[in-house]
Amino acid sequence: MNDAIRKVVMPKWGLSMTSGKVTEWIASEGDEIADGDDLAEIDTDKIAGALESADEGVLRRIIAQVGEDVPVGATIALIAPADVPDAELDEAALLAREELDSGAVAEVAGPVTGSVEVDGRTVCFAALGEGEETVVLVHGYGGDKNSWLFVQEPLSQSHTVYALDLPGHGESTKDVGDGSLDVLAGAVLGLLAERGIERAHLVGHSLGGAVVVAAAAREPARVASLTLIAPAGFGSRINAGYLRGFAEARSRRELKPHLAALFADPGQVTRQLADDLMRYKRLDGVDKALGALLGTLLDGDEPALDVAPLLSEVDVPVAVVWGRQDAVLPATNGEGLDDVEYVERAGHMVHLEQPNAVVVAVNAVTNRR
């Protein structure tokens, strides 16, 4: 096949995804495509999201039809420059169609999961990519390593990308000690030490943003850059009602209304999301962990964290990304920070709603010297 013809494949979003469906082609055959453009809406039994292009050119052929169940890694479309002859694309499309119909699609390697021991706690992670430089993704309050699913794969094309579960979250030990930033930052630094990563680009969302700042202040030599996504610890506003509602919800029914605060688009709050979060909240020890961390985040109804002084001690490139419609930590909290990239049509979960904005920001800051 002509090397100029690039395959668009069904992505692997998360460890358990084996197939997905195109629910809508956003781009049409003949459209000019830039890197990062939305190509299609993809639905799996767990989540729905937009597939972004990793190539540029013209969308020459659509292979997978809307509604067709396609295994991860299968070719769903072809992108090529306008000057590649149609005959070559017809041939490539035929091959791709045959591969799909036969079901003989090579399995795509997903992230590799593992764990390290830090201060008597197990810290779990998922790693993807083989780039020389390492990026570590640190989720926020109540999140986990899977919340980076739209971001980890694109970043892995140029970096080795770790997503970890902070103590109290995901599959890591649920004990958080006093719940202080120190404990959480210790887990991030411990992961670096245990995995032999001398220096990493740290990316933190929300509480994770404050955590990576604290980690950088504690061991500056280990940190190459910081990307802060709607970080906690800056500004004076915080949605205490959301945080308490999340911590205290005992059922899917109680939880679901609170989740609307996370997104600009309320359609993102699916039953599956609420179910997955309840699964997490029902693990032994999570209640106590969320309670302790609530004390780290809140002082009455006010923010308890201020990491601006810590950030001023750190001399590495810093990028800040904030969703315009953030209803948990409002975008106005970024006023004291330099060069904040405000993202339209995004709430608190920027990396789920507008993942490309996060990918672009991380790639830019990791290339800055």
């Binding site: 358990s16 999961t113 764990s115 599959e171 649920k174 029914r253 699964r279 029902r282 693990l283």
Partner: protein, 337 residues
């Protein structure tokens, strides 16, 4: 870490984790260890289906093999529960419960009520139900409706390994008597289950699948049958919402009603025989509370009103299958006044 394990392993893990956490948890029943009191290997069985395998040596003195004496060991478990232990009794087949109805219905179920809320009876009776293993009429019934009928009992019917573990842990921690019903054809079913301990609260249904065209409420093993039917139906453009009540007592009526208010159509799938079962109970609830939302008469897919046949061919016909569920859905979707 979540990994894929069987329903059997999920139950065994729940027992082991609770026995580890709380010394007052004990296990008793027939062949829970196996070989007790006779020469040869101890822990030969681990229960007839191997759920309790390994517990006998791990928790010395806390796994008790009993004689074939359901009325005695269920009574003993209930008595132990009233005096400080948290026993998990295994009564091999739900069909044999008849010999200990007084202990369960008239004693365990009544203590909290009759002693003015001052007594608690944290006992779990694990038991196997259901047809499909060629075990004939006396070992194949789906008798959970009988227990659902009795105030004072909680009745759990898990549909997956994830539910089996979380609901069993919740059952052991619960202060009331729980009848925990395991389908005998599900022990080798596998699914994702977290390694950590967790609980699933009683009275909160799971929504297994979203859909706007019809609500299917399915109990226990029938959830997977409904899922198979829903897949077929989706190919013809009918999207079914599947609700798994998880516990028949307490019953999450709100989730069922909300769903029917959205879809306007209800199919209930229950492996129990059709008189006074969960299908009739849930149908009555919906007919009374959501009548105005119904766009078609309710359909019930159940076993026929007969003993479970021993003939393979007849037993296969006896158990509700995906085709019957799909047909019932078509009936309600295509119904015209």
């Amino acid at each position: 870490m979540a990994r894929t394990i069987s329903y059997r392993e999920a139950l065994g893990e729940a027992l082991a984790q609770e026995m580890e956490r709380d010394e007052s948890v004990i296990v008793l029943g027939e062949d829970n260890a196996g070989g007790a009191g006779s020469p040869g290997e101890d822990d030969a069985w681990g229960g007839v289906l191997g759920v309790t395998k390994g517990l006998y040596h791990r928790f010395p003195g806390r796994v008790l093999d009993t004689p074939i004496s359901e009325s005695a060991f269920v009574g003993a478990a209930i008595g132990a529960a009233t005096s400080g232990l948290r026993p998990v009794a295994e009564l091999m087949f739900i069909d044999f419960m008849g010999v200990c109805f007084d202990q369960i219905f008239n004693q365990a179920a009544k203590f909290r009520y009759m002693f003015g809320g001052k007594a608690k009876t944290p006992v779990v009776i694990r038991t196997m139900y259901g047809a499909g293993l060629r075990a004939a009429a006396q070992h194949s019934q789906a008798l959970y409706p009988i227990f659902t009928h009795i105030p004072g009992l909680k009745v759990v019917v898990p549909s997956s390994p994830y539910e089996a573990k979380g609901l069993l842990i919740q059952s052991i921690r619960d202060d009331d008597p729980v009848i925990f019903c395991e389908h005998k054809a599900m022990y080798d079913v596998t699914g994702d289950v977290p390694e950590d301990s967790y609980t699933i609260p009683f009275g909160e249904a799971g929504v297994v699948r979203d859909g706007d065209d019809v609500t299917i409420v399915a109990i226990g093993r029938m959830v997977s049958v409904a899922e198979e039917a829903a897949k077929q139906l989706a190919e013809s453009g009918v999207e079914a919402e599947i609700i798994d009540p998880r516990t028949t007592s307490p019953l999450d009526t709100e989730t069922i009603l909300e769903s029917v208010e959205n879809t306007g159509r209800l199919v209930v799938v229950d492996e129990a025989t059709p008189r006074c079962n969960l299908a009739t109970d849930i149908s009555a609830l919906v007919a009374k509370e959501a009548f105005g939302s119904l766009r078609a008469p309710i359909e019930m897919v159940t076993a026929p009103h007969t003993p479970v046949p021993f003939s393979d061919a007849l037993e296969d016909l006896y158990i509700p299958d995906a085709q019957r569920v799909a047909n019932a859905v078509k009936t309600v979707v295509e119904w015209k006044r």
